[in-house]
C-alpha cells in the first residue's frame, strides 16, 4: 500500500501557498505509507541554459559549503546551491550531463535525485510528517507538485527507493501498486544504454515512460504504450514541467480521487487526505476511470 498526492494551483497568487496547501494531504496519507515520503515540486523554470539538480547526501554530515566552492570552480562561477538539511538544489549553467557526471565522479556519496529547469525533489525515509518537517515542505512554492507516502512491498526501505522517481529532465512519477514485469522492462531498456539507480519496480515504469517521450512520443502516446507494456497494479501520478498526469490500471485496483475547484486540482489516493483543502466541500469530486488518461496543465 502507498499514498499518492498531487496538487496543481490554477491561480498564480496561490503558488506561494502550494506547500502549505499540500501538507495536510501528504500527512493525511500516513496510514497508507508510514515508512518513507517524498515530493517533487515544479517551480518557475530557471533560464533556458541553466539546470537544477536535486542532490541527497544521505546520513551523516556533508560539507555543502566546500561542495558549493568546488561546484563554482568546476561548473562555473554562477553555480548556486540551496541547502535544506541533507538535500540541496544545485543550479548551474553547465550542461546537465556534465554537471551530473561531475557530481557522480567527485561526490559518489551524493545521489542526484532529479534534473531539469523546474523540478526540485526531496525524499527520505521516515513518517511523512517527519520528512515534511525535515525539508520544510510547508514552505515550498511552485505551480504543481507530486507527492508520495510509501509502505514498501517489493524493495528495501531506503531513501533512493522512496518516491518520486525521476528520469531525464523535469519528469517524475509516483506509484501506488506493484508491477509484475519490471525486470522484463529493464531488460528492454538496459541494452539501449538506460541505467537504473535501484531495483525498484516503479523506477522501471518511470524510465520506460521517459524513454518513450525521449523517442518522440507525446505524454499521451507514452502512457498508451505503458498500458500495453506495463503489467500489474498501478495508480501512477506523473509530473512534467507544466502538467500533472494520472492513470490507473485496467482493474482500478488502487484507489484515486480528484477534487477540482476554480483554484486547484487536487489528487489523492483517498478523500480523507483532501478533506482539509479550502472549499473542498464545493469541489467537483470524481474517481478516475481505469485505463483512461487524465492530464491537467498549468
Amino acid at each position: 500500500m502507498c499514498g499518492i498526492v498531487g496538487l496543481l494551483v490554477k491561480k498564480p497568487a496561490l503558488r506561494e501557498q502550494l506547500g502549505e496547501l499540500m501538507l495536510p494531504m501528504l500527512i493525511g496519507m500516513t496510514e497508507r505509507g508510514p515508512d518513507s515520503a517524498g515530493l517533487a515540486v515544479f517551480t518557475a523554470p530557471v533560464p533556458e541554459a541553466h539546470r537544477k539538480l536535486s542532490l541527497y547526501a544521505g546520513g551523516g554530515d556533508f560539507d555543502w559549503i566546500a561542495f558549493e566552492d568546488a561546484a563554482r570552480h568546476a561548473l562555473g562561477p554562477d553555480s548556486t546551491l540551496a541547502v535544506q538539511a541533507n538535500h540541496a538544489v544545485l543550479e548551474t549553467s553547465s550542461a546537465p550531463d556534465k554537471a551530473r557526471a561531475w557530481v557522480r565522479k567527485r561526490y559518489p556519496q551524493l545521489h542526484v535525485l532529479s534534473a531539469g529547469r523546474s523540478i526540485d525533489l526531496y525524499k527520505d525515509v521516515g513518517a511523512p510528517a517527519e520528512v515534511a518537517a525535515r525539508y520544510d515542505f510547508g514552505k515550498l512554492a511552485g505551480t504543481h507538485l507530486v507527492g508520495h507516502t510509501r509502505m514498501a512491498t517489493e524493495s528495501a526501505v531506503t531513501p533512493d527507493r522512496a518516491h518520486p522517481f525521476t528520469a531525464g529532465e523535469d519528469f517524475c512519477l509516483v506509484h501506488n501498486g506493484s508491477l509484475s514485469n519490471p525486470y522484463s522492462i529493464r531488460r528492454q531498456l538496459e541494452p539501449l544504454g538506460i541505467a537504473f539507480d535501484t531495483d525498484n519496480d516503479t523506477e522501471a515504469a518511470c524510465r520506460f515512460l521517459e524513454w518513450r517521450m525521449r523517442e518522440g512520443d507525446t505524454l499521451e502516446q507514452a502512457l498508451q504504450k505503458g498500458f500495453d507494456e506495463l503489467d500489474g497494479f498501478f495508480t501512477f501520478l506523473m509530473g512534467t514541467k507544466d502538467e500533472l498526469a494520472l492513470v490507473r490500471d485496467a482493474f482500478a485496483c488502487k484507489p484515486a480521487i480528484v477534487a477540482e475547484t476554480d483554484d486547484y486540482v487536487a489528487i489523492s489516493s483517498e478523500f480523507r487526505s483532501l478533506a482539509r483543502l479550502p472549499d473542498v466541500k464545493h469541489a467537483t469530486l470524481f474517481e478516475p476511470k481505469p485505463e483512461e488518461m487524465y492530464v491537467w496543465r498549468v
Binding site: 485496467a250 482493474f251 482500478a252 484507489p255 483517498e270 478523500f271 480523507r272 487526505s273 483532501l274 478533506a275 469530486l285 470524481f286 474517481e287 476511470k289 481505469p290
Partner: protein, 234 residues
Amino acid sequence: MASVMTAPRVATFDLAEGGVRPLNAFLHRDAAGTAKVIAENPDGAHNIAVGVDAPVEIEVRGHAGYYAGGMNKQAAITIFGNAGPGVAEGMSSGTVRVKGFASVSAGAAAHGGLLVIEGDASLRCGISMKGIDIVVGGSVGDYSAFMAQAGRLVVCGDAGDGLGDSLYEAVIFVRGAIKSFGADAHEEPMTEADYATVRELLARAGFRHDPRDFRRVASKRELYHWNADANQEY
C-alpha cells in the same frame, strides 16, 4: 415503578474531534433505544458504522472512506456524500443508502439487506454478493456482479465490461447499455415476476423508472459443470 435511564433519542458524534471508535463503540454497545445517530465531519474516515446490530437510523453527514456500513445488521444508514471502497460489504440486513457515488466493490459478499447508491458505482459492484439487493441509480463499472451467488442487482444506468462474469444465481437488471458480458452471463427474457421484482426494488430505492425498460441478465450455468471439451476456453 422507578424511572430508568433512557438512551438519548438522538446521539451526535463529531468524527473530526473523536475519530470513529467512539461512534462505533456506541453503536455496538449502547445504541438500544436510540432512534438516530449522527456522524458529523466523516471526512473520508474508514470503517464508519461497521458491525452495527441494532434497528437504529444512522446519518453520515459527508464522505465516507473504506467499508462504511460493513457487516450491517438492522440499521438504516444514509451517507450524505460519497462512499469509499467496500461500502456495505458483508451486510446481512438493514439498508445502506449512498447519496453520492460509491467506489469499488460496493456490497461485496453481502448476504442481505438493501444497498442503494444514488450516483454511480465503480468497478466490481456486487462482487460475490450472496443475497443482498443492490439498486444503483447511475451506472456500474467493469466486472460488476463478478461471481455473484444470490440477490438482485438493479442498474438504472449503464454497465461496464464483463458484467456478471462467472455468475451463480444472482440476477442483474440493467436499464441502459451493457458494454460486454462476462463469461457465462447472458441476457434472458423478462418474466412478469421479473417486472414485479424490479418494480418493488425501484420503489424501495425511491427511483422512478419503468420496469419495462430493464433487461434481465443471468447465468447460462455452463460453468457449473466441468466440460472437458471446452479446452479451457470460456
